[in-house]
C-alpha cells in the first residue's frame, strides 16, 4: 500500500472549511495584522491601562498557595466538580443567606465557564423539561443560539434592543414574553447585557419577573459579569435574587472568566433552583448523566483557585477591591471615549448626517450602557472600514470591548469612529 495518498480520495472530502468564529475570529485576524497601531476591541478580555492582560493578585496568591500545598493532588474530581467551589458559587450568586440554599433546593455543578454551564443546562432541559423552546433577547451573544440548538432546543427571539433609542425596547420585551407559550424557557442576561450593555432597571426587572411567573416561564440566567458590571457583587446579582426570592425555580449559568480573570481556566457553575430538596437531588443526578459522556468530570485548577479565594476572608475582600478597580477603569474608558467624541463635535455632525436614519445625534449611550461592551451603533460597512483603515478590530455588529481600550488609544478610536460615520452612511 503506497504511503503517498495524493491520488487517494479522503473520506473527509465532503467536509468543507468552516468559517472562523465571528467573535474569536476577530482575535485571529488581529494577531495576523502586522501594523503596530492595531487595537483589539473584539473579544471581551480585560486589559490594563498599559494594554496588557491582567492576572489578579488574589489569583497569583491562591496559585502559590496551591503549589506550596503538599496535600494537593490531581485525582479526578467528582462528576459535578469541586464541592467547596460549588457551595461558594451558589452563595456568591444567590446570597449567603438565600432561603433556597438553606432549604437545600439548589443544585450547583461545576462546568466549563459560562459556555459549558449553558450547554449542560440546555442539554438537561432538552431531555427532561416539557418545553423545548428557549426565548433569547435580540440581540444576544453570538454563541447563545448555537449552544441551544446543538443541545436540542429551538430558539425564538424576544425584542430587547431598540436601535432608535439605543436603549431597552421594554414594551416589545413584555409583548413578546407575554405571547410565549406557558412554560417556555427564557434566557436572561443577569447584568451587563452582551452585546448591548443595556440592562433593565430594577422596576423593569420586577415587571419581567411578575409576567414570567404568571405565565410559568422558566428563567435561565446567564451571569458572566457579576461584580464586573457595577463593581458590586451584590448589585449585579439583584435580578437573579429577585427570581429566587419569590420561591420559584430558575437556572443560572455563572462564569468566573471576567470577574476573576480566569478566562483560559474555564471555570463556571450551573445552578438549578428547584421547588424542593428532593427535586434538586434528582435533578443533580440527571445533570451527571449529561456531563459524564461529555467530558467525565471538570478541570480542577481554576475551580481550586476560586474556592481558595472565596473561602478566605482576606483574599475575598482583596478580590472585591481588584474587581471594583477593573469595573472603574472601564467606566472611565466610557467617559473618555464619550468626551473625545463630543470634542470632535460629532454630536452636531451626526444630527446632520444621520437624521435621515432617525439616529439620535449623541453618543451618550456609551456612558449609559453598562459592562464590558458598548454597542456603538456602527453598521457592518463602517466596522469593516475601521478595521481596514484604522486597524481597529471589533465584531461586525458594532460591539466594542471597552475592557480592551486604554487612554492612549482613545484618540485613535475616536478618529476612527468619526471617519467611519462621516465617510460611510
Amino acid at each position: 500500500m503506497s504511503a503517498s495518498s495524493d491520488h487517494q480520495d479522503s473520506v473527509f472530502s465532503h467536509v468543507v472549511q468552516a468559517p472562523e468564529d465571528p467573535i474569536l475570529g476577530v482575535t485571529v485576524a488581529y494577531n495576523k495584522d502586522p501594523n503596530p497601531i492595531k487595537l483589539n476591541l473584539g473579544v471581551g478580555a480585560y486589559r490594563t491601562e498599559e494594554g496588557k492582560p491582567l492576572v489578579l493578585n488574589v489569583v497569583r496568591q491562591a496559585e502559590q498557595m496551591l503549589v506550596n500545598d503538599q496535600s494537593q493532588v490531581k485525582e479526578y474530581l467528582p462528576i459535578i466538580g469541586l464541592s467547596d467551589f460549588n457551595k461558594s458559587s451558589a452563595k456568591l450568586i444567590f446570597g449567603a443567606d438565600s432561603n433556597a440554599i438553606q432549604e437545600n433546593r439548589v443544585t450547583t455543578v461545576q462546568c466549563l465557564s459560562g459556555t459549558g454551564s449553558l450547554r449542560v443546562g440546555a442539554e438537561f432541559l432538552a431531555r427532561h423539561y416539557h418545553e423545548h423552546t428557549i426565548y433569547i433577547p435580540q440581540p444576544t451573544w453570538g454563541n447563545h443560539p448555537k449552544i441551544f440548538n446543538l443541545a436540542g432546543l429551538s430558539v425564538k427571539p424576544y425584542r430587547y434592543y431598540n436601535p432608535q433609542t439605543r436603549g431597552l425596547d421594554f414594551q416589545g420585551l413584555l409583548e413578546d414574553l407575554g405571547a410565549a407559550p406557558s412554560g417556555a424557557i427564557v434566557l436572561l442576561h443577569a447584568c451587563a447585557h452582551n452585546p448591548t450593555g443595556v440592562d433593565p432597571t430594577l422596576d423593569q426587572w420586577e415587571q419581567i419577573r411578575q409576567l414570567m411567573r404568571s405565565k410559568g416561564l422558566l428563567p435561565f440566567f446567564d451571569s458572566a459579569y457579576q461584580g464586573f458590571a457595577s463593581g458590586s457583587l451584590d448589585a449585579d446579582a439583584q435580578s437573579v435574587r429577585m427570581f429566587v426570592a419569590d420561591g420559584g425555580e430558575c437556572l443560572a449559568a455563572q462564569s468566573y472568566a471576567k470577574n476573576m480573570g480566569l478566562y483560559g481556566e474555564r471555570v463556571g457553575a450551573l445552578s438549578i433552583v428547584c421547588k424542593t430538596a428532593d427535586v434538586a437531588s434528582r435533578v443533580e443526578s440527571q445533570l451527571k448523566m449529561v456531563i459524564r459522556p461529555m467530558y467525565s468530570n471538570p478541570p480542577i485548577h481554576g475551580a481550586s483557585l476560586v474556592a481558595v479565594i472565596l473561602k478566605d476572608r482576606d483574599l475575598y475582600n482583596e478580590w472585591t477591591v481588584e474587581l471594583k478597580a477593573m469595573a472603574d477603569r472601564i467606566i472611565s474608558m466610557r467617559k473618555q471615549l464619550f468626551d473625545a467624541l463630543q470634542a470632535k463635535g460629532m454630536a452636531y455632525k451626526l444630527l446632520f448626517i444621520l437624521v435621515i436614519h432617525c439616529t439620535p445625534g449623541d453618543w451618550s449611550h456609551i456612558i449609559k450602557q453598562i459592562g464590558m461592551f458598548t454597542f456603538t451603533g456602527l453598521n457592518t460597512e463602517q466596522v469593516a472600514f475601521m478595521t481596514r483603515e484604522y486597524h481597529i478590530y471589533m465584531t461586525s455588529d458594532g460591539r466594542i470591548s471597552m475592557a480592551g481600550l486604554n487612554s492612549r488609544k482613545v484618540p485613535h478610536l475616536a478618529d476612527a469612529i468619526h471617519a467611519a460615520v462621516t465617510s460611510i452612511a
Partner: protein
C-alpha cells in the same frame, strides 16, 4: 313602600357592590398569583438517575471500615504506599509556570498550539512524514472523554448513519458518549472468557461483517477493561480487514507510555495503521501517563490523506467545540507543553513513566507468583502475566467478584476487572488468597 324602580335601583346598587367586592377579591388573587410562582416543581417528574457503576465502587470502599480493605476499582495510579502520585516533572512545570507569571487568556478554540504540536509528535513520532506534510489535525480536548466526544460529534454530522463498532467488553463510558452524540454503535467480539484471551477470529469476523465505511474503535494499547492486546501480527490482520472494508480506524489511546513504559512501543499500533497511508482518528489522554487526571487534558487527532482535508476537518472540530465549552482549559495543556518541550523534563518524565509502569508490572508478577504458590491445582493463571496495563481481567464472574467484596473487602468492578494500579506488593498475598477462594468456592 318604595316604588318598584327604587327596589331595582337598590338591587342594582347592591349587585354593583357585590360585583365590586368580587372584582377586588379576584384582582387581589391575581396579584398574588402574579407575584408568587407555581407551587408544583417544573421538574417533578424527573427520576433519580442510577449512580455511575465505576465511581460507585470507590464510594462503597470509603464506607468500609475493615482494616484489610483494598480498592481495586480505581482507574488511577497509586504508589506502593497506595497514595495518589503527582509526577515530579509536573510539579517542576507548575513551578516554572508560576515563576514566569503566565497569563490566563483564552486559548484558541483548538487549544494550545505548543501542546497540539507536542501531542501529534508524541503520537506519530516527531520525524513522521505525516506531520511534515501537515496531514494531521490535532485539537486539544477534555482528556480522553472530551476528545472522543468531539470525534463522535464529527461522525454524527459528517457521516450520518455510519456506525461505530466497539469491543465487547469496552470502557463503560464509550457507549454513553456515542449515545449522547447520537451515533449508532454495535459490538465486535473481543474477550473470550474460555481462554481469558482475545477472541481474534470473532473480532475479525465481526469487523468484516460491518457495513462498509464503519468506524472501528480500537484501544491503542492496554485494553480497558481486559488488559488483553492484539499481537503485532494480529494488528496487521486487523488493519487488513479494515482496509478491505473501507472502514475508518478510531483509536482510543489512554495509556501511551504507561502500558509498557515506552512511549514509542505503546504507539506502535497507531503508527502501523498510519504507515499504511490509512486515514484515522485518535483520541489521546494525558490523565494516566502524566498523572494529570483532574486537569482534563487530551486531544483528538485526525490523520487525513491531504493537508487540505486536515485543515478542513480541524475547522469543523472547532465548530463543534465552540458551542460546547468555547475553548479548552489552559493549565494542563501548559504542563504538557512544558514537560515535552524541555529535554531534561522530557527525559525525567520517561523515567517516571517507566517507574509507574514498572511498579504495575512488578505487582502483576508478584500476584501471579502468589497465586501459583497457593494454587496447586495446575490451573493456568498465566493470562494475568500476558495482560498489560493498569487493569487485569481476573476471569472471575459476577458472583465471584461479589465474594471478593463481601468476604474479602476487595473492591473491584462486577466484570472481574481489578486495577493493579491500586495494588501494593504488600497486599499481593492477601489478594491471591481472595482470588483463589472466590474462584474455587463460589460459582
Amino acid at each position: 313602600m318604595l316604588p318598584p324602580s327604587s327596589y331595582f335601583y337598590m338591587m342594582g346598587n347592591f349587585g354593583l357592590q357585590i360585583l365590586v367586592i368580587v372584582i377586588s377579591f379576584l384582582q387581589s388573587l391575581g396579584r398574588i398569583t402574579m407575584a408568587v410562582a407555581v407551587d408544583v416543581s417544573q421538574f417533578e417528574s424527573i427520576t433519580m438517575a442510577p449512580p455511575d457503576p465505576i465511581l460507585g465502587v470507590s464510594e462503597a470502599f470509603r464506607a468500609d471500615t475493615h482494616e484489610m480493605k483494598l480498592n481495586l476499582g480505581v482507574g488511577a495510579y497509586r504508589t506502593e504506599e497506595l497514595q495518589p502520585y503527582v509526577l515530579g516533572v509536573v510539579k517542576k512545570a507548575e513551578n516554572l509556570m508560576l515563576e514566569r507569571g503566565e497569563f490566563k487568556e483564552y486559548l484558541p478554540i483548538e487549544g494550545l498550539a505548543a501542546f497540539n504540536k507536542a501531542t501529534a509528535e508524541l503520537l506519530l513520532g516527531a520525524d513522521n512524514p505525516i506531520i511534515k506534510q501537515q496531514r494531521i489535525a490535532t485539537v486539544q480536548g477534555l482528556s480522553g472523554t472530551g476528545s472522543l466526544r468531539l470525534a463522535a460529534a464529527l461522525i454524527e454530522r459528517y457521516f450520518p448513519g455510519a456506525k461505530v463498532l466497539i469491543s465487547s467488553p469496552t470502557w463503560g463510558n464509550h457507549k454513553n458518549i456515542f449515545n449522547d452524540a447520537r451515533v449508532p454503535w454495535s459490538e465486535y467480539r473481543y474477550y473470550d472468557p474460555k481462554t481469558v484471551g482475545l477472541d481474534f477470529d470473532g473480532m475479525i469476523s465481526d469487523i468484516k461483517a460491518a457495513p462498509e465505511g464503519s468506524f472501528i474503535l480500537l484501544h491503542g494499547c492496554a485494553h480497558n477493561p481486559t488488559g488483553i492486546d492484539p499481537t503485532p501480527e494480529q494488528w496487521e490482520a486487523i488493519a487488513d480487514v479494515i482496509q478491505e472494508k473501507n472502514h475508518i480506524p478510531f483509536f482510543d489511546v489512554a495509556y501511551q507510555g504507561f502500558a509498557s513504559g515506552s512511549l514509542d512501543a505503546d504507539a506502535s499500533s497507531v503508527r502501523l495503521f498510519a504507515a499504511r497511508g490509512m486515514e484515522l482518528l485518535v483520541a489521546q489522554s494525558y490523565s494516566k501517563n502524566l498523572g494529570l487526571y483532574a486537569e482534563r487534558i487530551g486531544a483528538i487527532n485526525v490523520v487525513c490523506s491531504s493537508a487540505d482535508a486536515a485543515a478542513r476537518v480541524k475547522s469543523q472540530l472547532k465548530r463543534i467545540a465552540r458551542p460546547m465549552y468555547s475553548n479548552p482549559p489552559v493549565h494542563g495543556a501548559r504542563i504538557v507543553a512544558n514537560v515535552v518541550g524541555d529535554p531534561a523534563l522530557f527525559s525525567e518524565w520517561k523515567e517516571e513513566m517507566e517507574l509507574m509502569a514498572g511498579r504495575i508490572k512488578s505487582v502483576r508478577q508478584k500476584l501471579y507468583d502468589s497465586i501459583c504458590a497457593k494454587d496447586k491445582s495446575g490451573k493456568d493463571w498465566s493470562y494475568i502475566l500476558k495482560q498489560i496495563g493498569m487493569f487485569s481481567f481476573t476471569g472471575l464472574n459476577r458472583a465471584q467478584s461479589d465474594n471478593m467484596t463481601d468476604k474479602w473487602h476487595v473492591y473491584m468492578t462486577k466484570d472481574g476487572r481489578i486495577s493493579l494500579a491500586g495494588l501494593s506488593a504488600a497486599k499481593c498475598e492477601y489478594l491471591a488468597d481472595a482470588i483463589i477462594d472466590s474462584f474455587y468456592n463460589v460459582s
